[in-house]
């Protein structure tokens, strides 16, 4: 099962690599993107975008439109990050698009759940939100399986540590490139529910 999925993934990646790939809007060159990733992104995000470090996001399978928007906003400081800012300053617009398209083509690895006892609560928050607190279901925008789309990021299989850090940044107003949507949600969601939903996100099927 796992084996055949890996073969399928490899076959897909091969197919995708054969031609330059375009997502909904972003057009990029996979070969160049792979080179940018290997040179600039690998240390934190992994060569295939499956970051080995819980603090740094997985980018494998992330929608190119979303990833490119984040890169552009790191550059313009609409999204603040002391780590990413100097890195994106070294990238051309073409590098960004190519890297985004390359990571989008990669197969995400399964997420790591730290506390399975929280999954039930996390599933409820993800699928129903918290109506009393005015929290919409995450699934509404990010999709039932957390796969997202060009407008809303893929979450499935993401590191809980990274998800929690971003929720914290939304809640305390350090991250503000979200039309205030996630700021509202993160400030309405309780601590336990936030932790639980981060665990649940990690548990979501890793397939693209």
């Amino acid at each position: 099962m796992k084996h055949s999925r890996m073969i399928a993934a490899a076959a897909c990646a091969g197919l995708l690599l054969a031609a330059s790939s375009a997502s909904a809007e972003v057009v990029g060159d996979l070969e160049r993107g792979k080179a940018v990733a290997a040179e600039v992104c690998v240390a934190c995000h992994g060569a295939d975008g499956n970051s080995p470090v819980p603090m740094f996001p997985k980018l494998a399978g992330q929608h190119a439109d979303y990833a490119l928007k984040q890169l552009q906003e790191f550059a313009s400081a609409r999204r603040q990050s002391d780590i990413m800012k100097p890195i994106v300053e070294g990238l051309s617009a073409r590098d960004m698009a190519d890297a985004a398209v390359f990571f989008a083509s990669q197969q995400p690895s399964p997420g790591q759940v730290d506390d399975p006892s929280m999954l039930e609560t996390g599933r409820r928050v993800f699928n129903e939100g918290n109506p009393d607190q005015g929290v919409p279901a995450c699934a509404g925008c990010h999709g039932q399986n957390g796969v997202g789309n060009a407008r809303y990021p893929r979450l499935a299989g993401q590191h809980p540590t990274y998800v929690l850090d971003q929720m914290q940044q939304f809640a305390d107003g350090r991250r503000t490139n979200d039309k205030r949507l996630m700021q509202t949600i993160a400030s309405r969601l309780g601590e336990t529910e936030t932790r639980a939903v981060a665990e649940y996100i990690a548990s979501l099927e890793a397939s693209k």
Partner: protein, 235 residues
Amino acid sequence: MKSALSAMFVLATACSTALAQPDAAPRAPGIESSGYVWNQPDPDKDAALAHRPDIEQGKIAYEICQGCHQSDGSGRADAIYPSLAGQHASVLIKQMMDVRAGRRDNPKMHPFVGEWVVSVEEVANIAAYLNQLPISLDNGKGSGNRLERGRELYENDCASCHGKNGEGNATEFYPLVAHQHYAYLYKEAVMIRDGERRNANPKMVIFIRDYSNEDLKAVSDYMSRLTLPAGTRQP
């Protein structure tokens, strides 16, 4: 003196807006203020009503709503999220714009429908998308205990606007109430009677001003069970 004060007021509001929590909703005069005119012209509302809607774009823009109102627009039976599927586009546009302007209080929803999230055109597109969704028929109902009383009240006092079968009236901005969740209808009816739904229609308030809670329950139960005859779904 007066102008200095008003300048200070402007400054203070500007600061408080800038510092406001993301979910601080605006407040505009409503039925509690003298000179209130229901469904007054409003540039954004009028622009949305005049926009030629794109249903496909509406489906995309609706993503942001479905975390609460559900992907089929059916809401929740427990009075928290109303059903929106099949509602008249004019009614949907008016309600969204009233929330944006602060004429209808909905602090839970406001951050998700603000003009920084949803454009005027998208409001119209969403309304058109929702209008053509099939009405969900398994809405929450009441106890069923006093339906005869509910029917009598409805036909005397409500049908003239909400329609014999609860179909409402798109041109008049009267909501479709058939297949709406009972608990939501009852909650809104109480709020309209008590002046808490600030964008309410004053003529309707006259009709229900003296209703007891029991009668509001009976009529809401009756409304939630109304069904639209085939072919009349989109008047």
